[in-house]
Amino acid sequence: MSPVAAVGVWAAAQLIPSPLLVMSKQHVGGGMRWQLTPLLYSFGIAERPVRTFLVSPIVRHSGSVELHVSPEWACCVTGEQSSWLVRAGVRLYLPLLEHGEKLSWSLGGSYYRAAGGGGAAADLGIFTFAGALGLNLTVSPWLTRREVILALTIRLF
């Protein structure tokens, strides 16, 4: 396959959204999140520990630290803030079973920027099926109407 086709496959994979359940005390809504990995250091992989953008599941889930950028859109959240925001943060992945390919977990911290301002958030995740499926809980205490977000993470690379 040509390099152009490979980039196309990667780009298409990045466009797959992860559905969100957006929660606050008064509201429950939905949304979508995308993720990019500009930089990752894997301490579980045998070779080339530093990766940019293209990260195979075993590289991430065998143990790594990644810098991620996550555009996010929430629907059904009415109020002053825009439905769009972007997060940038650091996340640690640690393997649990079969070098993380069967089961891994993550812990992260991020800074978000929305129309109404910015703030800090923390997240905790668990992943299976070579990291393709996961649950990620993001807590943003100062982000009105979307303080808690549960994401069904769908991610190939």
């Binding site: 496959v9 990667w10 579980g44 992989i45 599941p57 065998s62 079969e98 393709a132 190939l156």
Partner: protein, 307 residues
């Protein structure tokens, strides 16, 4: 016109692939419990053998070449990435694997490269040989992981292992084949005048088999996959049929062939038993005896050349 043909090809392969994947999922969900292997060997070392092969299942074969042991594509796991349960238990317990001179891995697909299986034999081999592009997609282990380009060799204490060309598809999870397009290989093992071909997974590519035969004109044994066969429209690009495996065997010019890569996991439309049944029919039509192409049961060891 050329573009139209390309699009038609991609669409037909994609549609066939989607249908195959859906049928495979349904068959895996209704798979029977894992069958036990009777009379598993406690000690696979055969002092009376110059060349012996033990089929552990799928593409996993323990080869004895005189006093050296090598293991191909070790899979001891009871499932493949939580999707495909094993039909028959491994024909050799991993703790019974003797000290190995080397392990080879033909490619990264989940039915050929199992990280948990490598954990089980981590202390038993000094080296694992892989095709280009695989090392950067493997976890850290205590053994050395060395990539071999086609026709390049690893040699130690008289045992030489050479990467030889095959036709398959790279990657591990289907879509990532785009990123590691060359990550597949076959191998030839040579030791004390013995030589064994291991095809891993391969489509029918006569030029590759002829080129290997030209470089290794006296192959004692060929380990060749015979399955998955169906759906052939989809499989023809990546896997030989039983009949093509016999063609490959004859092009390689090996003295004997052991069929592998069937009836261990569900990864095709083939019913269990269909591939060896087809192989037997094709052997009969060609006048090939079971001495030349012994069909082993999982867990069965065959002494091919005695002392």
């Amino acid at each position: 016109m050329r573009l139209d043909a390309s699009i038609a090809f991609v669409m037909s392969v994609s549609l066939a692939g989607c249908g195959f994947a859906w049928r495979g999922l349904k068959r895996n969900l209704s798979a029977p419990p894992e069958r036990a292997v009777a009379h598993k060997l406690a000690d696979p070392r055969r002092p009376e053998a110059r060349l012996a092969a033990l089929w552990v299942g799928h593409a996993t074969v323990l080869l004895q070449l005189d006093d050296r042991f090598v293991l191909t594509d070790p899979i001891f796991s009871h499932e493949l990435l939580q999707t495909s349960p094993r039909l028959v238990e491994p024909g050799l317990d991993p703790e019974r694997v003797p000290p190995l001179a080397a392990v080879v891995i033909s490619h990264m697909h989940i039915d050929h490269l199992s990280f948990s299986s490598l954990d089980l034999i981590e202390q038993r081999t000094p080296i694992v040989l892989v095709p280009p592009g695989v090392r950067a997609n493997m976890p850290r282990y205590e053994f050395e992981i060395r990539e071999l380009e086609t026709w390049s060799s690893y040699e130690r204490d008289g045992l030489r292992i050479t990467a030889v060309p095959v036709q398959h598809i790279g990657g591990r999870y289907a879509l990532d084949a785009a990123f590691e397009p060359r990550a597949f290989t076959g191998f030839v093992f040579e030791y004390h005048g013995l030589s064994v071909y291991f095809g891993g997974d391969t489509a029918y590519l006569p030029s590759a088999f002829k080129a290997t035969a030209a470089r290794f004109p006296d192959l004692s044994l060929a380990l060749l996959p015979i399955c998955p066969d169906e759906p052939r429209d989809f499989m023809q690009y990546t896997h030989v049929s039983p009949n093509q495996a016999l063609d490959a065997f004859q092009l390689l010019g090996a003295r004997q062939m052991i069929p592998i890569h069937y009836d261990t996991f569900i990864n095709s439309d083939d019913a269990p038993g269909a591939c060896p049944k087809e192989l037997r029919a094709r052997m009969q039509a060609r006048g090939l005896s079971s001495d030349r192409v012994p069909i082993l049961a999982i867990g069965e060891q065959r002494v091919l050349i005695g002392r």
